[in-house]
């Protein structure tokens, strides 16, 4: 039997206006979208040390009852154990496809976001370093920033992205968006009538890319090339996020973000 979803479930992420970065915001938005699609209420709590509170070191994480679960994959499984699932109606082959496309987004989009944030010198200097350590006093803010950058660069090297130039990364993003656009076609969601966790994940990443101001607009231009993807984002935003006055409202977040980030 499924336990009821408690009223005070909370989702933790970094500080929305000053600290959170593109990739973390995308992941957090994906989880929020997923929970909205499941009709599970959750409130967003912003903490400067969210990354350290998380059991796996990654944001976002949710605190439900007395359990703490982080990252979209485990959260989907946790929610399924509680009896809510978006992908039950899919057959086996479709489930395989869904998992494959989720890996594509993680593999290409998320890695490209991380690359842009931490390996592109201009972005690092002007956006990432000031934002990442902003809640902390000097020199702690610089130390934490450099430490995180070193970690991310090691990971990029291990998977072979260290040798890529920014153009190549943007090309990969374009390829990924093209694949998503072709898969989506003219349908409202990726698996026609009902949204699934794949829709939540894609929405999280694409919406964040579209609404975050970076040094240049190249990344968001890549996504804007595909009109069905922008329509998809708008549709999900209207359906699941409008009419909320809480912090998680992305309309407010969008205008807030556009004004800062410098």
């Amino acid at each position: 039997a499924a336990e009821p979803w408690p009223e005070n479930a909370a989702l933790y992420q970094q500080l929305k206006d000053e600290q959170i970065l593109l990739s973390d915001n995308a992941s957090s938005l994906a989880v929020q979208a997923f929970l909205q699609m499941c009709n599970l209420p959750i409130r967003v709590v912003c903490r400067a040390n969210a990354e350290y509170m998380s059991p796996s070191g990654k944001v976002p994480f949710i605190h439900v009852g007395n359990q703490v679960v982080s990252e979209l994959g485990p959260i989907v499984q946790f929610v399924k154990a509680k009896g809510h699932s978006l992908s039950d109606g899919l057959d086996e082959v479709q489930k395989a496809e869904m998992k494959a496309y989720m890996e594509l987004v993680n593999n290409m989009l998320l890695t490209a976001e991380l690359y842009l944030q931490w390996c592109d010198d201009v972005t690092v200097e002007e956006i990432t370093h000031p934002r990442y350590g902003s809640p902390y006093p000097w020199p702690l803010n610089r130390i934490l920033s450099y430490q995180k950058q070193w970690e991310v660069k090691r990971k990029m090297k291990a998977i072979g992205w260290a040798g890529k130039t920014l153009e190549q990364v943007l090309e990969d993003v374009d390829q990924c968006c093209q694949a998503l656009s072709q898969r989506l076609g003219t349908q409202p969601y990726f698996f026609n009538k009902q949204p699934t966790e794949l829709d939540a994940l894609v929405f999280g990443h694409l919406f964040t890319i579209l609404t975050t101001q970076l040094i240049t607009d190249e990344l968001s231009e890549k996504v804007k090339n595909y009109s069905n993807l922008t329509a998809f984002c708008r549709r999900i935003e209207q359906q699941y996020f409008e009419g909320h006055d809480k912090d998680s409202s992305t309309i407010a977040a969008r205008s807030a973000k556009k004004s800062l980030l410098r």
Binding site: P55, S56, G57, K58, E92, V93, K95, A96, E97, K99, A100, Y101, E103, L104, N106, N107, M108, R154, K155, A158, I159, G160, Q175, C176, Q178, A179, L180, Q182, R183, G185
Partner: protein
């Protein structure tokens, strides 16, 4: 039409043209698309190189990663994907990402990190293929790189050491194999009757798991429970790589032959008995002479579709 192309890669054993997943992927794609590659197997007389393997050398260009090599081949008009629809092309990308994220860590672990496997099979095999001073260093380096990759992509607090990540990555890999099996179903290749890029990648990743004999083989055992994937690998090996039917090592082939001989003798004995019965029956005026069944030796399954067609 293009300049001659040369592919440097690791060699094969256990019935495979190459033991290295990425080399195997490129070789398979070249066969599927009909690209004329001369394959240069790395041997102990070969000088040291600092790049990744496999490496494609064409005129002056040196291209190193499988994705880039495949792109280059496509630009040279050796395209195995030209019949795919846009959606299928998108599916290809997605499934390749799935392979890299879910299956590759376990593959790397089985080859390079599992202590028994590494010491008894992988390290001696690779060391024997490289010139002396490098053979002391290179396998170790490849092992460290594999470990690094797994820890950085899959491990993170609280999973700092490999043992904790192990369970997770093998679980992911088995799930990935199940998903691939469901997607393949009963069809010949992933997108119908002709092989494409995705088939090359899946073959490149699955065949080493399937064929290489390790002491610790949990992934291989899982794979063997998915007969359509095993059949997929065998088909490609027999049709495109013209290797022996079962691809067994010589010892295995002998036992298979011995079994076959025994079976042949049994059936021949039976047919002799039937002949005798026939003679008896012919004395009484009833049945027309019966045809004797003969044992047909299984031939290598010939693929009907041509495998060396070039794209327009």
């Amino acid at each position: 039409m293009a300049a001659p192309m040369e592919l440097k890669c690791w060699g094969g054993d256990w019935g495979l043209p190459s033991v290295h997943p990425e080399s195997l992927t490129v070789m398979a794609y070249a066969k599927f698309s009909g690209a004329p590659l001369t394959v240069n197997i790395i041997s102990s007389s070969w000088k040291a190189s600092k790049g990744d393997i496999p490496v494609l050398i064409s005129e002056d260009k040196v291209i190193s990663q499988p994705a880039k090599i495949l792109n280059f081949l496509r630009k040279q008009k050796y395209n195995a994907d030209y019949e795919l629809s846009a959606k299928q092309g998108a599916d290809t990308l997605a499934y390749i990402a799935l392979l890299e994220e879910k299956l590759l860590p376990a593959l790397l672990h089985t080859f390079w990190i599992e202590a028994e496997n590494y010491c008894s099979v992988t390290k001696p095999w690779f060391a024997s293929r490289i010139a002396f001073p490098l053979s002391l260093y290179l396998p170790g380096k490849m092992s460290r790189e594999a470990l690094n990759r797994i820890l950085l992509t899959k491990g993170g607090p609280p999973l700092y050491s490999v043992t904790e990540v192990e369970a997770q990555i093998y679980r992911d890999a088995k799930e990935c194999l199940n998903l691939l099996s469901k997607r393949l179903g009963t069809s010949q290749f992933f997108f119908g009757d002709t092989p494409t890029t995705l088939d090359a990648f899946v073959f490149g990743f699955l065949a080493p798991i399937y064929k290489v004999c390790f002491p610790r083989v949990q992934l291989q055992e899982h794979l063997k429970q998915l007969p359509n994937l095993c059949r997929f690998c065998d088909d490609i090996l027999t049709c495109y790589f013209r290797l022996s039917v079962s691809g067994h090592s010589p010892a295995g082939q002998d036992t298979a032959d011995a079994n076959l001989q025994k079976l042949t003798q049994l059936v021949n004995k039976e047919s002799n008995l039937i002949e005798k019965m026939d003679d008896n029956l012919r004395k009484s005026p009833q049945h027309p002479p019966r045809k004797l069944t003969t044992l047909k030796l299984a031939a290598g399954g010939e693929e009907s579709s041509p495998f060396n067609r070039l794209s327009p």
